[in-house]
């Protein structure tokens, strides 16, 4: 898709240069002409000048760290001394994760498992958001206000939100106090038991994320033609059939987009469980893949942390590749 954009621009630029006539046309038709050559040279200079901060930033703050993290996987790097000065340990960190008796295997795959458990919120957001969007797309009073209200948790600082949730859900917190006052024998371990953590973190994520899905669907719904729905009604289709057979298919591209971007985001989950649980949870039941990386960064084992990060990155690349393939298929079909 991006490639197409660039080609379009070039074509556009060429076309509009034809329109205006004068200097640019000379440059097009006679590239060796000295004046137009100078102009082109100047434009190249200016162009590179304008993008130079981006290029420098890319080299220093992305490319160098990128290469270093690739190398770090094979070093015993503490993050204090230089990487090159550190001891080369070969595949030690890989073995510690990938061998079943590896020292960090249990913890790492538990973290990956937790990450996937915390992705359960994604399909829930997508389904719930669909029905909310249909409801908020009705011609009735107050829909604007609802759209705003449901999105509020999405913009608020995750720290403030997670601290509130912690105080509501902790063992002697507001929710359990209420349950006990209503007759429960003891409180639920929302933030300590495995099930409690999975439930509470997912609930927090749905609460925080459903408004975004809803807004995206509402935008997608603008492409559903009212005529088509009218026609279906005349044919005697009921509301549910119309919803499932006309509205839902119209939203497939939105659903796909939300699912892929949501999955990529979800695989990189860190903030919500880390702040809500004040760390990695009981027996690491709240530790995600990125938490694992952060933990071993903190512990001064940058090599292990880098391997953990790259295994995660590999999963994300697979998701991205599937998305690109599907996008290509779709644009070919159209």
């Amino acid at each position: 898709m991006q490639t197409v954009d660039i080609e379009e621009t070039t074509a556009q630029a060429a076309a509009s240069m034809g329109d205006t006539g004068i200097a640019p046309v000379k440059r097009e038709s006679n590239p060796n002409h000295s004046l137009s050559h100078a102009l082109q040279k100047k434009e190249t200079l200016i162009g590179w000048l304008y993008i130079s901060p981006m290029v420098i930033g890319l080299l220093v703050f992305t490319a160098i760290p990128f290469i270093m993290s690739l190398m770090a996987m094979f070093y015993n790097w503490d993050g204090i001394h230089g990487l090159i000065d550190s001891e080369v340990v070969g595949f030690k960190w890989f073995e510690s994760i990938f061998r079943s008796d590896g020292m960090y295997a249990g913890q790492y795959w538990q973290a990956i498992g937790n990450t996937l458990i915390f992705a359960i919120q994604l399909p829930i957001c997508l389904i719930l958001g669909f029905f909310l969007a249909v409801a908020m797309n009705r011609d009735m009073k107050g829909v604007q206000a609802f759209r705003v209200i449901y999105y509020i948790p999405g913009v608020m600082s995750v720290v403030a939100i997670a601290i509130v949730w912690r105080n509501i859900f902790k063992e002697d917190g507001a929710l359990n106090m209420m349950l006990i006052s209503m007759g429960a024998k003891e409180g639920v371990k929302w933030l300590t038991s495995d099930f409690g953590v999975a439930f509470t973190v997912n609930l927090l994520l749905v609460w925080k994320g459903v408004g975004y899905s809803t807004l995206m669907y509402i935008a997608g719904l603008q492409s559903v033609s009212p005529d088509q729905i009218e026609a279906a009604k005349i044919d005697g289709a009921n509301s549910w059939t119309i919803l499932m057979k006309i509205t839902l298919p119209a939203l497939y591209p939105t659903i796909f987009y939300l699912f892929v971007t949501g999955l990529i985001g979800s695989l990189q989950m860190f903030n919500e469980p880390y702040i809500l649980l004040g760390g990695y949870g009981t027996g690491n039941n709240g530790m995600t893949a990125v938490s694992f990386v952060y933990r071993y960064k903190d512990a001064g084992n940058y090599g292990l942390a880098s391997v953990g990060a790259w295994v995660l990155a590999f999963m994300i690349f697979i998701v991205t590749a599937v998305q690109m393939y599907a996008d290509k298929k779709r644009s070919e079909a159209e």
Binding site: I6, A13, I46, G47, D139, M140, V164, N167, Y294
Partner: protein, 310 residues
């Protein structure tokens, strides 16, 4: 990293405001049409949902107005008190010299300059990518796009080390300086807007003798100002709320931004301090609440646009 930052694109506000046209009115008119009945049911359900969406915020506000003994046991305070807001200053002061005021200062320092410089740098690059013809343009643009796919987890460790070597982590600079070099997401977003400006406008300006920079500043930049404003708002919210970046790159507690400060307060808090921690959380949200209230249409519109595009 941040929902808002990731999902941005230009803004047609009609996508937001337009609603499905009402179906033709039924021939006979009962007291309530079936459509009205459904509307009432839907409104009631959405209202109940709204209560859930707002409940944690309401609970938070009420909790800050209670003595600590009541925080968990009551919903409405029996005894109303503003002690939490007084204690908040002290406990923050204990953690970091200057307390909440310093936290606000740090947050503004790591947000406002970043928003301004990042937008300007990105706008220049977006203009170059959209309107100028130069060798290597497409290659660089594709490389920049490709870097968006690199997960932050991969590069964050060497970045932390690198910033340490540059002596940026002792102050707030490690979360400021790197962002001065532009944001590829913003470039991508603004580039679309520069495309939509006819080349004839820039050509005309240039024929009048204006240089590239003058053309950009006096003609093109004002034309994309609405898009720039949207990006600035989203960038402000994203940077203000950022947690992992400051957590990794700010070593000195005195330079903690509000999210880090509030998180530390929450982490150390005993039961007696809960109301003041919640008060600090609430106060830390005020700038976001103001920005969201003032610009909610723009913010929501920008999200909706990416769906229209996608």
């Amino acid at each position: 990293m941040n929902d808002i930052m990731e999902n941005t694109a230009p803004v047609p506000e009609e996508a937001l405001t337009s609603e499905t046209p009402a179906p033709a009115a039924p021939a006979k008119k009962p007291v309530l049409s079936s459509k009205q009945i459904v509307n009432i049911i839907v409104t009631v359900v959405l209202c109940l949902g709204s209560v859930i969406m707002l409940f944690p915020f309401i609970w938070m506000v009420l909790a800050t107005l209670k003595p600590h003994t009541e925080v968990y046991s009551t919903f409405f305070p029996h005894t109303w008190t503003v002690d939490a807001y007084k204690d908040m200053w002290e406990s923050a002061d204990y953690l970091m010299k200057g307390g909440m005021i310093r936290g606000f200062g740090n947050s503004f320092l790591t947000t406002v300059p970043v928003v301004i410089v990042q937008i300007i740098v990105s706008a220049f690059a977006a203009y170059a990518f959209a309107k100028l013809r130069f060798v290597g343009k497409n290659v660089i643009f594709l490389v920049l796009l490709a870097t968006m796919m690199i997960p932050f987890a991969v590069i964050m460790l060497p970045q932390a080390w690198l910033y340490g070597q540059m002596h940026l982590t002792q102050g707030p600079l490690a979360v400021i300086i790197p962002k001065f070099f532009g944001s590829i997401g913003t470039v991508f977003f603004l580039r679309q807007f520069f495309y939509s400006i006819p080349d004839s406008i820039t050509e005309a300006a240039r024929l009048d003798g204006a240089g590239y920079t003058k053309t950009f500043i006096s003609i093109l930049f004002p034309l994309v100002m609405p898009a720039v404003a949207t990006q600035a708002i989203l960038s402000f919210i994203g940077n203000w709320n950022d947690f992992l970046g400051p957590l990794l790159f700010i070593d000195d507690k005195n330079w903690y931004t509000l999210p880090l400060l509030v998180n530390s307060l929450g982490g150390d808090a005993g039961t007696t301090e809960i109301p003041s921690v919640l008060a600090a959380s609430l106060v830390s949200l005020i700038p976001i609440i103001i920005v969201f209230a003032a610009f909610q249409k723009k913010i929501i519109g920008s999200i909706v646009f990416s769906a229209v595009k996608g």
